[in-house]
Each structure stands twice: as structure tokens, then as C-alpha cells.
Amino acid sequence: MRKASSAVWKKLKPEVNASENILVKNSFDVDGGNFDTAGTVSTRIKSILKEQGLPSDVVRRSAIVSYEAEINVVSYAKRGVINLTVTPAAVEIAVNDEGPGIPDIEKAMQQGYSTASQQIREMGFGAGMGLYNIKSYSDRFDISSEVDKGTFLKMIILIQKP
């Protein structure tokens, strides 16, 4: 378990319980450093969610958080995996990467804080909005990271509001 320097921003309850009907379960690989294909996984996730006939707000928010997370993996990590799970209640997007990790999660969560390279900034990212956007657009968000190992994100977008 990656526990060192972990921060839970919105305490997670287990959203996807085993008895629940899983509508979609997919896993996608993301290449670190490959800016040409950055965003293609999120494009697929959006199509899958749209095909499921989910509300447009849910599709949109899922696409946004997935896109930002994918850009982060491409920008900073060696490689990553994005896991998509859909139940009648929620969309869950979990991202696990092998990379440098985040030494100070609290700082990284702040709007405007970024360690992005010039290349990332030229693409229109790296303004320190990624994690902040991910947090604002998910109903539940969990992040943990270990320096020199990687970062784990879990975002939940509720389909049926409690």
C-alpha cells in the first residue's frame, strides 16, 4: 500500500460494493511522456460513458477529471493505468502511475502551483489547475502518493445523487 505522504481530501466510503451490478469495467494503459496520444484514453472513456446513456453532466465531469489525470500521467510519470468502473450508482475512475510521486500533496492541490516543464505549458497545461479541477469536478476524490514510486488517484462521479 502506498501510504507515505497521503492525504484524503474527501473521505471515501466504498462506493462500488460487490453485490452491485457492474455495467462497465475497463483498464487503459497510458504512456508517460507521449504527448501525441495524451487524451486518447479520456476520449475513449467519454465515448463509453456516452454509449451507456449516462446523463450529460456525468459524462462531462468524468471526461474532465479523466483528461486532467491522463495529462498528469503523460506529463510526469513513466507509465500509468486508468481503470474505469461504472455501476448504476457511480462512475469510478482510478489512476495509478509509476513516477516521481508528489512530495507535498497539499501544495500540489493549490490552484496555480505547478512543477510543469516548458513542453507541458506550451500545450496549454501546467498552470497548476489539474488536481484542483479534478477535485472540483468529482463528488469524491482520493489521492495518495509516494515519492519515487508513484501516485494514486480515485475519482467518483455519482450518477444517482444521494
Binding site: 487524451g39 476520449t43 500545450m123 497545461f125 489547475m129 479541477n133
Partner: protein, 124 residues
């Protein structure tokens, strides 16, 4: 308003989507920061931007943006053009700067896809 009229107002050149000039647009969002485009641009709006890479097209596709309007006379690279053709998103380019582009469209009745960013804007 039809995209064809947008083209006239901005004296724009159509780079992709000559066959899509009859689509209707009412709103727009303008930014060069892709995180803000992701956060605030709405489906069916035009995206006014000075960025030309493939990310812009991919994001426009994910957000169901109606058309990309490149400002300051920017021309997209071949990969961005190819992707826009694939996903059927029109790209126009105008020599006007972002401020002038937005002002000219606003004067003709195009409005922002949201007026202000306030707490909860992301849920609209």
C-alpha cells in the same frame, strides 16, 4: 447564428469543415489555458483560442465543442488538422486578436457559454 456568418464577421479562413458552415452556434468560450477550457467550455459552444496543437482538438472533441476559432492568425499543424477532420470539428482561423474576435462576435449576439465563474460553475 450560422458558422458561415461567424466566418464573415471574423473574415476567417476555413481550415477544416467547409461542409459544416451551416451549423448553428450561440455561445463561445475563449482561453489559451486548456485546463480552463476543460473546466468551463460547454458543449455546443465555439472555442476561441491561440493554441493550435492536437490537444486543443482532442479537448474540443471530448467537450463536444461546435467549432474551433483560432485567433491571431494561427495555423494548426498537420496532425491537428487531420484529427479535426477525423472527429468532424470545424477549424477557422482569423487574423483578429482574441479581444477583437470576442468583441466582434458579442456585438453580433454571440454570448459567453457562461457569464462568470462562481462557486459551483462547474456543475452547470
Amino acid at each position: 447564428m450560422k458558422l458561415r456568418e461567424i466566418k464573415e464577421i471574423l473574415n476567417a479562413e476555413v481550415i477544416v469543415g467547409e461542409d459544416k458552415l451551416d451549423i448553428e452556434v450561440k455561445t463561445a468560450f475563449g482561453a489559451d489555458l486548456m485546463s480552463d477550457v476543460l473546466a468551463f467550455a460547454k458543449a455546443g459552444s465555439m472555442l476561441l483560442t491561440g493554441l493550435t496543437n492536437t490537444q486543443v482538438v482532442r479537448i474540443a472533441n471530448v467537450l463536444d465543442i461546435a467549432a474551433i476559432i483560432l485567433v491571431r492568425g494561427k495555423k494548426p499543424p498537420a496532425e491537428a488538422i487531420a484529427l479535426a477532420k477525423d472527429v468532424h470539428i470545424p477549424i477557422l482561423t482569423t487574423k483578429y486578436i482574441l479581444f477583437e474576435t470576442a468583441g466582434r462576435l458579442f456585438a453580433k449576439g454571440i454570448v459567453g457559454c457562461l457569464e462568470k465563474v462562481e462557486a459551483g460553475s462547474e456543475r452547470i
